[in-house]
Subunit: 284 residues, 6 copies
């Protein structure tokens, strides 16, 4: 058979293989499902202010880019990202009141996840891996998965699974030490800070504006959440820690390490061979 994948060359004559499921055709996809081994990565992001130097789509852009790199290594495909996420919270994202933050409520994040996981699994996808890039999403993604499995009646005895993870949980101690030589300030205030900025500088440099890096001490937020928020507790920049010290080399270090570890862990968990399904990915 000659199933083919429809791929758009981003750079003209030298088309790169795409791992985006949205660019696959239905017949190729169907054939892939029949292998019984299809793994689909679903990136989850947000539409959220990230200070003056990063774009609003940062969370979805990063989780998508990481998912695509992992997919290439393990022979998976990447579904369209969840471009909108749960409400930004002040302690992890500055707050939902800030311009540029366009959010979904819990019911919608849960419902979207439930529908997508249910659709994919019922069509024969063996493993769905949700790669989260927006802290606030996590529990709602979890609930959506759990409800979908209930809908389908899937329990531990089957051979289908859903994995849920946030990519920063794969940054190793060693990498952290290299990226934060003066000590890691904690994931909670890593919003618009060195992690995200460096990753974007490595992966999407045109979307970062280093001239607009702010420099201020990390936000000092209480241990509780207060609602309605006290707006002044978020730095005026919208960043919870400053991007100062970010560079593409740090981004590359983190990216390579995370993609390597994440790929290995998913492959081990799902029993995926790392061989790419050539037929599906073959370009014109």
């Amino acid at each position: 058979m000659t199933t083919r994948h429809l791929t758009e060359g981003r750079h003209g004559h030298q088309p790169e293989r795409s791992v985006r499921l949205s660019q696959t055709d239905a017949h190729g996809y169907r054939d892939w499902l029949r292998t019984g081994d299809a793994t689909v990565l679903l990136p989850a992001g947000a539409f959220e202010q990230h200070g003056p130097h990063l774009p609003l789509g940062t969370d979805a852009i990063l989780s998508s880019t990481i998912a695509e790199a992992v997919a290439r290594r393990i022979g998976a495909l990447v579904a369209e990202p969840l471009s909108y996420g749960y409400k930004s919270q002040q302690k992890s994202g500055g707050g939902n009141h800030l311009p540029g933050t366009v959010s979904l409520d819990a019911a919608t994040v849960i419902g979207t996840t439930r529908c997508l996981v249910s659709s994919l699994l019922s069509q024969g996808v063996r493993n769905v891996v949700i790669v989260n890039g927006h802290y606030e999403n996590y529990q709602f993604l979890y609930e959506g998965i759990d409800l979908a499995l209930g809908d389908l009646g899937l329990g531990p005895d089957g051979d289908q699974s859903v994995l849920l993870l946030s990519y920063w949980d794969y940054v190793s101690e060693q990498t952290l030490e290299a990226v934060y030589p003066d000590g890691f300030p904690g994931w909670d205030i890593e919003h618009g800070g060195v992690l995200e900025t460096s990753l974007m500088m490595h992966l999407h440099p045109h979307l970062v504006d280093p001239e607009r890096f702010v420099d201020h001490p990390p936000a000092s937020l209480p241990r509780f959440d207060r609602l309605p928020v006290v707006p002044e507790r978020t730095p005026a920049s919208g960043c919870l820690s400053a991007p100062r010290g970010s560079d593409a080399a740090k981004g590359r270090l983190m990216f390579e390490q995370v993609v390597t570890d994440l790929s290995a862990e998913i492959a081990t968990e799902t029993g995926l061979l790392s061989s790419v399904p050539e037929a599906v990915l073959r370009v014109s």
Copy 2:
């Protein structure tokens, strides 16, 4: 003022101005909102089989591309598309049972629309324009808008509005005659047919595989919907009409005409000047 837009050059040294809101930074966006004239286009698509020659993401790709072109003309920005849509129906999309079709239920499409419209309007966006590219979505998008307006307490006396439209309603009679010299078979079976295929050939040729064009008579479907579907009523290709006769020139003709008319109608309705907000769109 020195607000700047973060733009990724797709072709290297000659960066094109991006109109994607996800690539704007929060501070530039905030300044734009303050003009009181911000219009945001929200493309709505689907993840749906489109036969062997078109990609699964066709509906979102087309509505996004059209929205971007309109945005350039009228000085608007484009939010990330709704990449997943309501369940494919047999009479307009072949049916939700087909592999490759990954759908949301009504509550999720309504909820997503409600949250996004509400978020955008409450931040000060003046007009939201939903550009739909998947027939089945329409009524659920409508309900989401209506609920959002209720949430915000917005009535006819305000100066904020939401427009909802499907792009094919802007194909003129004259264009139809040119594209379908043997007679227009009707929008209902234009799934995977000449309209979508020609548009894709013009706009994203790498994502179309003309060698896999099927050729079969248009689907003949009853006037009722039957559930559960009788699968055999959908042609094996998944297309409701054949793409035979599609070409990039037809796609260009439709695209230019639709973008022109759509831009004009939105500009008139919203009172938008067609001048581009340079500050927001300026590239690095």
Copy 3:
């Protein structure tokens, strides 16, 4: 056995056989279900302004009357209509802001449909046919059916089905030409116009007031929906096209043709014999 149907004579001494399920007794109904061939028609309408000459209940009245006529021909019974429908939209019904329009939201139309379809099918009804008389309802009825089938776990292999249709889709080209000798203006603005008015004049003349027919050009509405609506876009009468030219003869023509074609199509699809189940329908 002597199961009997409880029938109210509308005209006193000459009782007509009733096909309304609400007038059947539970024991007769149970016996009918046991035949394995029970088909129930469920009319869906609305409570919506229809100008000064037609009653608020027009949509439910027409879909009910048509359903009853079809039921007589194919040996089915008619459940109580959905008397309230989804929000009136400006482009098809004048808008939900108009006095006299009392509407349900999407969740309620979906939920009602889901419950009723699920109840009927799980009791052993073989075919449920929803006869829609209010344009705005369609997609929400569809979702309700789809969810009910999911609840029951019914797929294509079973022998139960649900059909969904709008009665005007059964008006033939030939009939249209006879009713609109000057050209058919399109279903979208057929609200309070010649179709509905003529049908009502034929079927329920006492509910029509010809002295109050308005005469104005058809409404000219944009290709988009705008919310909040611009109220002035709806003609002051509330009709999207004028009833001028309506008469009972046209109503009779349409009614007879639609009922004939609809009955034939349903009978063919469901394999129903057209014999009436005498035992169930026998009057006292």
Copy 4:
């Protein structure tokens, strides 16, 4: 002014004035709303087995007929009934498992009530009176009303109100003694019994079949509800008490007394004059 009401004569040449809102036209309705005194009665029923001698629609038929009679006395109009109700419970209706019982779940009854009450009040109806005829509905109707008032922000200081009642609560002690000379068995088992049967014999004799009256002792049900039900606890007839002893005279007695008291209480509560709004009700 010449607003007119569209009325269907049920008996041919001698048309009776209709108090059904669905038969009013939108312009007449609008004028009536402008009086500031409009009261709408909304009957709530069910679709529920009522033994072999009563029709499935009994609950909606009775609440509608009573509402119409009250409306004539107090100058109100009657909206289309809720023809389907909450699940039949074994202790008050025999149980939801019985053929012929087609029910809505709680969310749907609540949602329907919420939408209708909200629609009517926001259009300017001053008082909505829900006349319940199905025991199981009551609390869900209540919740729907409460949510609607919350949506509209209506509190005790306004002059709009919603009344909720079950018609049997208006049967007086004196009437009970006359109808049940051997002692009243209690409302809980009055399902398919003397109350409903006698009322139907008075009001809709063609819908009752006295030859099929069962005769068995009243159902003896425990003080708890058990789910899943033990089906044998419901008498095979589906009636919780036997209709023996029912007759039209008892029905007439109850009907007249209930309508009189109900009309008086509503009129007092709402300050309604009992004068009929002639313009609205004038027949052709």
Copy 5:
């Protein structure tokens, strides 16, 4: 085996056996489930004003205390009570507008019940008995149970069941005559009156303040519910009938009789032996 129950002695050196499930450990609970005979009582209450002499938690306190006494007799355990209930209604609880009344809406009561019943039954609990102490809850508890059974696919043929009851339905005629020598005023206005006050005086005397007993005639409420409420219809005390005449002896009489009858009825219905599972309840 030596599974043990973790019990807190309320009075120091003489620990009483606890029947609260929350004080059991998971391993003991698991062993108990394996007997196949586990019955769990779930008390349902409210957080509702009860006049000046009774605490806000009265309904949950009473249903919990009764459930614990029943559990001791029949060898069951008691889950944590539903401490919050459905909105207080004026005719049975004074109304939801009164300070101290903190309520849940219908969807939440239904959802909570559905989750708990589903959790308990799916883990292997054989019978769940909901002991209701707040009139307004009943129908929402019922719906939650019904939905849970639907989720689990449990029908009449299985051996698991859920019982739902309100404890006052077990007060016998004889007891009523003893407690209300001047005639029983009816359950509807028994809010803050002799029943609840006497029970609390017997069971929790420290939580009752007899010096603050009000004395006023029973509330005289119409047969309808009106929303928004007319606040003046509720006596200023918040009690619908006065606690005058309450005493601990009456409380004891009612308590003993109700617990006895309730225990007997549950044991008969569920086939429970009244032997206590010693291993589970053994204290340290």
Copy 6:
């Protein structure tokens, strides 16, 4: 004024002042609200297996006990706890599949929180503080709060607030070092471990069974969540880390430190004086 609080003496003749809102009477509560300074603490827990040595109710017991101690210091009252929580997750609680774990879904936790917060704030409570004791709850509590504030239209300019916190976030570094001399293993696996066990040994020794302490290495769980869970990844005990090394002294140390810091932080944030409102708390 002579408002009084109804307090149950736990130890007989020497009644302790109760800070439980459920034991307050409505009139005293109303007077307290009128001070404009009322702060209510709402403990959130779960019903979840905690190994063989701790009771199922541990999370609610601990958050309630801590909330009561804080309330005594800052002059607040404590509402009845949320005794049931969101589904136990394998990485933080062992998993929802384990016997003894009785959970709510997301919608129910959100809805309950929304209703309670809305009820309390709309009655005039100035500050609501949710003291969480079950990790999995946090985001759903947050959403419930956010929705309630939206319902009430409360924004940053008002003087009402809701605080949300988990009590373990108040364990200081210094305390951690004292409690875990060999190094703190991390909150994620502190389920049934030294923190909870020691706190229970200090606060509720009768509910802990030291003879059943398990001893095993901490659970080693992957960085992702997998659903359906792989049951073997949870230690057979149900504890994610062993309770070995727990003692009442450590519990006391943690309890005192957390209560002190939490009280100070809440008092500072809300501007509460630490004086106890004597009138409300006065015992009989």
